[in-house]
Symmetry: D2
Subunit: 381 residues, 4 copies
């Protein structure tokens, strides 16, 4: 297996499956130094639709039975692009079959599933089987640069982190019911979908763990039109939380799917003892930096210069990257880890930590009190 | 008294006294339709310093004893520009002496004082004596326009309000101790100073009352250099809260004096059913508007056009206003109310409502739980 | 005359007269170290209107005959806020009467007048009588800081300067005829009104003199409704030029009164060997700086910090200034020069240099060729 | 040939070859409705390097002799990604061989070559062989939307267009000599490289033809270090021009490679009778719109909504695209034209028109006078 290209299977072919397909198709062109891949098989429920998608997206084949795909010798890596309630079953089976696993975020829909997945990942890891969870925004060059700047002490110890992930696709009260708005399929609403990214960034950028949570959640539109008439919405439209961390920082968190005018705005501000950083996903090529070198102001840095994370693989300075490049970077980092025999990040343990914070948000919102988390979450699994 | 100019006394001549002096000196030039004023007397503790300030700022006279000033027949209006712990005593005495009162914000340092001031204001009001609290940001043209847009239904019912007032003058841990950092003189830190403005805006923009508060506060720098060595800081450096309102909105609130790179950034975002508004005090001439008319995007409106609140008094479109113009507008609105025999806004009751929210923030932060406010606060005084 | 306040007369009381009145009324409050002034007299043609304005704007008296005012012993400084075609007559008479003169920009409507004014200013100067032309944007703190940065070599030798002054009040073809659109009263259109500021900034920021001009002008709306039917517009709506300088820089210049959406946007970009600066009058408290210290990006600096030009006179950091503060600064600088017995800047010679460039723009546009200016313009007068 | 995928050959594999390879590899995944392609062959001079690139970029084969490739029956489309002085030879040979041609911009290095290429394209067109020039910025969704808005009359007749394309990679005088800085290989400097895009946009957005040019060019760094010591730079570093059009608009144009801090900033502002549009390539997902619907302000529109040009092929709203997506769109549009049997745009005639304007810029700069272009340029070939 050492020199042949790694065979990849992607399970799921809608939004995430399309984005991941682009990554697997493109990674070798931009990161020729990582292990080569074959787009072995794309998996979906509808044979005709998945076959058409497989052709369009450059896959050698398509399939409808993911369990069968796990038995294929030419499949080395399984990329789980399914809704959250299916993550645990597929990812754990793939790990048990000795396949490296990339699992979309959030890791699972509840804590118990996430803990189980961590146990599976640990077992597989001891056999050299790798696993990672798809918090792709760690691979936005500007955010990777932000992490470098924080880690290097450029802004000093972090005191405050402002996190908001605001979208507006549910602003209209007449927007129809979907599986994303039912607790049994989606687990939660803006919380699992959007806050999971934000919490992961908090941990990624600062290296801190969350120690307490005070939260509020709200469903602004209580029912929406379904195929058979109005249906109750059983997940949150928006959530707010204040998070304390073991590193001494305090973070505010706000997520919403009804923030009119915000299409996909993950904004992050990090305030340290000597400076601050700012980011907005809608301008993802830019990082704002305030420190002792910025004339008292805040610099807008276009993160496309030589030496900036990931961008040497792409174009000359000033030629901006798109959202889906984060998946190319994610693929490259995973392949490099597999090639090097190291564990990729973020791990399933990272996914579990995020899950624990989201769970605490729900508990705090329900109880109307601050919830304290024990610091050594993953260790206890 | 009908036709002679109103005699004004300003008590205090540092930062606020200077800003208010500019307002009294300028109001007639820009708002010739409001009752005329005389800059009668500026009051301070140090005779020489207040005399110099009075000359520079255009006052006819200066004085050191505010009680004596209250006895002067040619003083009709007392403008209290003192630290918060002195507000109640001076403002209540002035009202008792039959003088109209403008009192700087926050209304008081604690709830009991604020309640007492409301009682005094009510008593005086019945005798035609007017009172108002100096939440000057209600007079930023862009925020007055925002209120108009919300009130007209342009963005529909308000769901979310994001409030942050971030400054950075205490970022450096070596910044020295001042009276502003001692609870006995300042009441609180960023909370009273900054959050008071933000909470007032929440009420001003939406017309909602706060019904519950979940909050956290933090003092990042626990001691600072005083004249005789390190002294403990006994107020907050920063605070976070989630506020629910009786109008169905949820508001996040974040205030800080250690947000490196943010000199004086009060940012407000209002999300409604059909649109949203955005504001930043560092660009106070601009309002961001997203609604059905903005091509799916967000318009940056320079609030200097004919018909925009207050600006017809000033310059042609595009000639931007400064921060201190808010005090000119405040003076004009107060004078117009006095002239019309109506009650100016915001009232002392408004000041009390803000105080009650700030008090709930402290209580919630201390107790680690959501605090529910009774809806009819002022009525209970 | 040494210790009594300087008596000021402002000639004209519309837009500029109002703005200058604010400056004379306010300068002592913010710049207590400069010579004191008395608002002696405001001059206008209509006795009732100027009297009302004088009262509102804080003047001791009003008058209708500017020649008579020039004879008053208690008037030391004459501030000419009249349309351009009246500048020469009034300013020269005032200088001849021994009064210091502040003359609004542009210095004159044509070159011959400007040259005559320079001769008068030189004559008066030898008798200690001071004169200056009102290019007030030199006193925007951000632009004064820009000049300091250029002069200190922070961005190296200047190569390119992009200048644009765009307004939109004539966008609508139905906007009515005014004296500003007739050559005999206004001299030119956007050119004299807007380009004069831009050209002055080019000279101010770089210290270079313009050596050649290639230009185009255009009147987009050839006639506009007058009181008696359509009238021809005899000045430019917009102008474009490329300017070469004796310092090796090349500057682009674009001015317009029909740039829809630009209310009052003077934008300036200065590109040097090691960095660049950027400015927009609609955000006049901000300067953008790119140099070796800005992480490869461009810093937006809020020019309200201690040590920034002029701002120590005002408020704490982050409390932004308005457009009319530039006139306060202009007054302070002029008074300081008078007090110190030095010549204020910009001088009438500076005004003449601007006029020569504008004249070359018109000539180049008419001839369709590059016009070369002799370098020692003012010296030749 | 009707149903088999079109065989593509890309000639050149450096910057542009890499970007075009990505487009050919990706077009089918995002635009499944256009004719399918095969990545037949990548061509380069160095056999080993082109073979490695071909493998990385997904090509079936590589070759070193482009003439031989033109003889292959399985090659239907030749994509010329070579330096400008090689365009004519390869593109004309390909057309003569009956291959559809996509030629990188600018079309050629001089007018004579461009005219010859137009003749070849016309000849081929009559035989159903298609040709297009790679002004890829026509395929930026925001610019395609801008064109739609102009064409629909949303901003009225266009009066002014401000064009600037600023880069800074030659700011440092010590940056080394390259073929791009020699006239014999590059034709011109910023002019051909950057101004060509800007002029194409002027024509694309307005539909106007340039009728006169007044221009200036400058080489700020006259010599640069070569392998054997200093060498003279024989192309421009920067250029400025004012362009008049047959539609009544006037356009300013500024291009530079020494604009410190501007990595890749093509900025476009279009001012019409009723509104205006704005764009910056460094934020290429955004279009600024001012019209009667934007509250007097300017809306920043994230061009990722359903119905916006091209973006339905990609992700949900707010998921921004990168610079290289323009090449995917270019490929899709070309394939669709081939499939439909229509002529793709921009044509070689469009490329020639741009060339004529650039040529006039050089002539005007040299002669110091306005150069008038005859309106029917391409027709005269």
């Amino acid at each position: 297996m050492s020199t042949r290209p790694l065979g990849v299977a992607v399970i799921g072919h809608s939004f995430m499956g399309k984005a991941h397909s682009h990554a697997w198709r493109s990674v070798g062109a931009f990161f020729p130094d990582v292990p080569a891949v074959r787009q072995a098989v794309l998996v979906g429920r509808d044979a005709a639709r998945v076959a058409a998608a497989a052709t369009a997206y450059g896959w050698e084949s398509s399939a409808t039975d993911w369990r069968e795909v796990l038995t294929r010798d030419d499949v080395d890596l399984v990329d789980v692009c399914l809704p959250g309630h299916l993550h645990a079953e597929v990812a754990e089976a793939a790990l048990a079959a000795g396949k490296h696993v990339l699992c979309e975020k959030p890791l699972a829909n509840d804590l118990a599933e996430a803990e189980s997945m961590v146990r599976s990942a640990r077992l597989a890891r001891s056999a050299g089987v790798r696993s990672t969870v798809g918090f792709n925004y760690r691979r936005v060059p500007a955010l990777a640069l932000a992490r470098e700047l924080v880690a290097s002490g450029q802004i000093g110890a972090v005191r405050e982190v402002r996190l908001a992930y605001l979208q507006d696709w549910l602003t209209d009260a007449a927007a129809p019911m979907t599986w994303r708005l039912r607790r049994e399929t989606a687990g939660s609403g803006a919380l699992g979908d959007l806050a999971s990214h934000a919490v992961d960034q908090l941990r990624f950028l600062t290296g801190h763990e969350v120690t307490s949570v005070s939260a509020t959640t709200r469903t602004f539109v209580a029912q929406r039109p379904g195929p058979d008439g109005p249906e109750p919405v059983t997940v949150d439209d928006a959530a707010w939380a204040t998070l304390e961390t073991d590193g001494g920082a305090v973070s505010s968190l706000e997520v919403s799917r009804v923030a009119a005018g915000r299409r996909n705005s993950l904004t992050i501000e990090v305030y340290g003892e000597h400076g601050s950083l700012g980011f907005d996903l809608e301008r993802l090529n830019e990082l704002r930096v305030h420190d002792r070198d910025t004339h008292g102001g805040t610099a807008t840095v276009l993160v496309t210069d030589p030496g900036h994370p990931y961008v040497d693989a792409w174009w000359p300075p000033g030629h901006v990257l798109g959202w889906e490049h984060t998946f190319v970077h994610q693929a490259a980092d995973l392949l490099r880890a597999i090639g090097d025999g190291t564990d990729p990040t973020p791990s399933f343990e990272d996914g579990l930590e995020v899950q624990r914070v989201l769970s605490a948000v729900e508990q705090s919102a329900a109880d109307g009190r601050r919830v304290v988390l024990s610091p050594a979450a993953a260790a206890a699994v």
